[in-house]
Amino acid sequence: MMQWRPQNPSIAETLFSLSRVTKHYPGVTALRDVDLSVSAGEVVGLIGENGAGKSTLMNILGGVTVPSSGTIHLNGEERPNLTVPDAIKGGIAFVHQELNLFENLSVAANIMIGREPLVGGPLRLVDRKRLRELAEPLLVQLGADFGTDTLVAELTLAQRQLVEIAKALSLNARILILDEPTSSLTVTETDRLLRVVARLKANGVGVIFISHRLGEVKRCADRVIVLRDGRVVAELGHEMIEQEIMIRHMIGRELKMLYRPPAEPVGDKMLELVGLRTAYRPDRSISLDVRQGEILGLAGLVGSGRTELARTVFGIEPPLAGEIRVGGETVAINKPAAAIALGLYLVPEDRKRSGLLLDFSVAKNVSLANLSAVVSRGLFDAAAETRLAWKWKDRLAIRCSDTKVPAASLSGGNQQKVVLAKWLSMTPRVLIFDEPTRGIDVGAKHEIYTLMRSLADSGTAILMISSDMEEVIGVSDCIAVMHEGAISGTLTRDCFSEENILSLAVGRVLN
């Protein structure tokens, strides 16, 4: 018996539909008039660039976010205020990129978590035998190569994904949403997952397959929906699902021209990476040069290894092999202090976790990496610290009433400027920005870009990791693209286009 087989497996039955769904956030419209429907036994591919609105759409499907307008139909009923429990009850299940499993529990316990079969009356003991019996057929159906008693900690990522899918099926999921399911899988594992998807489809489950890997989308989707800037820009029927067509629809958004060329021709190589291997992808090696006075954009899809590269160059994680050269000299960077001593700084991706001490005052944050500047004869000079903070508050136009206020009370853009001030109070030779304007409003964004350019003009080599196309194209002098832990190509300004970047990012070779 297949417990999760839908009660009425009629192929044409529409399980779920959104019509004219719009979602406004303060200052931005994340989705506009989106229509999306899934029928039983159908695989819908959902593609779009980073920031196209996929996450918002998924949050609406899962009942996490309530749309500003539009209607939601679930199993034929209109659900104006879909909540998370409603979505689960209605048979919607997610398998996220970050899996939500308990590593310390067995496969069966994970599948039945919160719904354990009980024995022993008031003692409420877990019926282990029944637990296994409930989990076993699900694993068999998915073709799993592991048992119900295996600890999740012992499973590979691909196997864990199957556990998540089994869990979804045990909840009688009729609509399964797979969010970037193959981004960390090997080729064989991906093949198996796609077979599982086909099997689910045959059993009448509706699948939404979100992926950057267009080849896989082509292999499994019956229909592809392309999102761009919060709108559905194309709905491709089966015969139209070709990589070129998909890429063409994903790009083509109008970009504002932000670019300001360097004041002087770029100089010598300031940062050179030669055959660098990181712990993230030990099988790939990275070679890259950043020149003095240049802003080098580092594009790529989420998970392509850009942040890990930055962490390695900055000394958070040791490199496995290869060389780092700063200003022509080979250097050993085994800890951030070593990078800082060389004038190589990092503005990290997660400002609140790694960039700032939120409870510390603005002044203490500014001086944190450069304490020797505010110390005289071994003791803090509070006046010097305040002076330093005010100097940078004025120079970078950091908006705060006083430098004594905690960094947490500042807006995102001003917090980012505080992180910058921390480094600029010393002399940067190489500055790595990881997603420099994430979560920052438009005005502050442009201030940061202007700062980056004037830093470059004063001789700093800048490496800017960014997933924002407009930013990467509008700010960089040159773009390197990463794909699966390696540089898949470098573009000069005359070759800048979303199409070229995206093609390199998904691992296609440019002609």
């Binding site: 900055f314 001490l357 510390f360 944190l368």
Partner: protein, 329 residues
């Protein structure tokens, strides 16, 4: 508010008011509270317990905890008495040896916590058991003390003497508190310690050597505990290694927490720890003077700490709400 170059925060001020209120109430009920003998004895205890409470504060601010304090006091106390009473070496040298041993213990704890990645609770709990065991083995479980007629007048004056009724232990405590206040609040190390305790990742991304900072906190803690061990040994003059210093780590943790150190790390002040120590000893004294059965000693202490932390928490939440309301507006 500022006092001698150090900011006095609201928490410390509240604690000071609490000490004064309790002191006045006790003095009204039993005037003996203010008698020179009682004040001098209480001051001595404040000095003895305060010295190692200062150390505990450093570890707690780093985000850790040091549970082996009581056992270190027993072990190093036994070693000190043995070295001095047995005339193995001059008492000055014995002091240096004992303090060096303390620092070494801190180094080991810090190493196990940072390099081996063990939890501070586990490391120092093991320290608690190991040092206590060694102390008992060292003396064959017998009481250690000075032989009859042994006299070290200078040592005794230095550690257990009084100056116009002011016990030298208190003088030592005040001096050390002054030094430690400078180290914690005015030195680069102090700033790094707060940063590491608050957000180790952000500290690391700012180039701070988090390992070294944390290890130093343990070395300071165990070093100060060694100093306290000498003073306490000279105060009791005899040490029964199975009970000497029992629960002292809890006094230290209680004083630090009362004084505003957060067990989550990154918060605390030396003034707070000093006031926390004073409050604890006044409470002990209160139990004696008010005729409360001394068996209730710990119960009184526990209740006051609980209420103090609870009230503080409520105030902190209210302050946070106000700050948040302001930042929204």
């Amino acid at each position: 508010m500022r006092f001698g170059g150090f900011a006095v925060n609201r928490k410390d001020l509240g604690l000071l008011v609490l000490i004064l209120v309790i002191g006045i109430v006790v003095a009204l009920i039993n005037p003996r509270f203010l008698s020179p003998v009682n004040l001098s004895n209480t001051a001595n205890l404040i000095g003895l317990f305060g010295i190692f409470a200062l150390g505990q504060a450093f570890v707690i601010i780093s985000g850790g905890i040091e549970l082996s304090v009581g056992s270190i006091i027993a072990l190093l106390g036994v070693v000190f008495l043995d070295l001095v009473a047995g005339n193995t070496m001059p008492w000055g040298a014995a002091m240096i040896v004992v303090i060096a041993l303390g620092c070494l213990m801190g180094l080991v704890h810090g190493f196990l916590v940072t390099r081996m990645g063990l939890q501070p609770f586990v490391v120092t709990l093991c320290g608690l058991l190991v040092y206590r065991g060694i102390a008992r083995y060292y003396t064959n479980d017998a009481t250690a003390g000075f032989p009859f007629g042994a006299s070290f007048p200078w040592l005794e004056w230095l550690t257990a003497g009084r100056f116009y009724g002011i016990p030298h232990s208190l003088v030592m405590f005040v001096i050390l508190a002054g030094i430690m206040a400078v180290v914690l609040h005015r030195s680069v190390f102090g700033r790094r310690l707060f940063a590491v305790g608050k957000n180790e990742e952000a500290a690391r991304y700012s180039g701070i050597d988090t390992v070294r900072t944390t290890v130093t906190a343990y070395v300071i803690c165990c070093g100060l505990t060694a100093v306290a061990a000498i003073f306490i040994a000279m105060y009791t003059r005899s040490i029964s290694p199975s009970s000497h210093g029992n629960f002292y780590e809890l006094y230290a943790i209680a004083a630090a927490v009362l004084g505003g150190c957060s067990l989550r790390g990154g918060e605390g002040s030396i003034l707070g720890v000093v006031l926390g120590t004073v409050l604890l000893q006044v409470l002990q004294n209160l139990v004696n003077l008010l005729g409360i059965p001394s068996s209730l000693n710990f119960a009184v202490m526990g209740s006051v700490i609980l209420i103090g932390v609870l009230v503080d928490q409520q105030f902190a939440q209210r302050r946070q709400r106000i700050v948040r309301a302001r930042s929204v507006a």
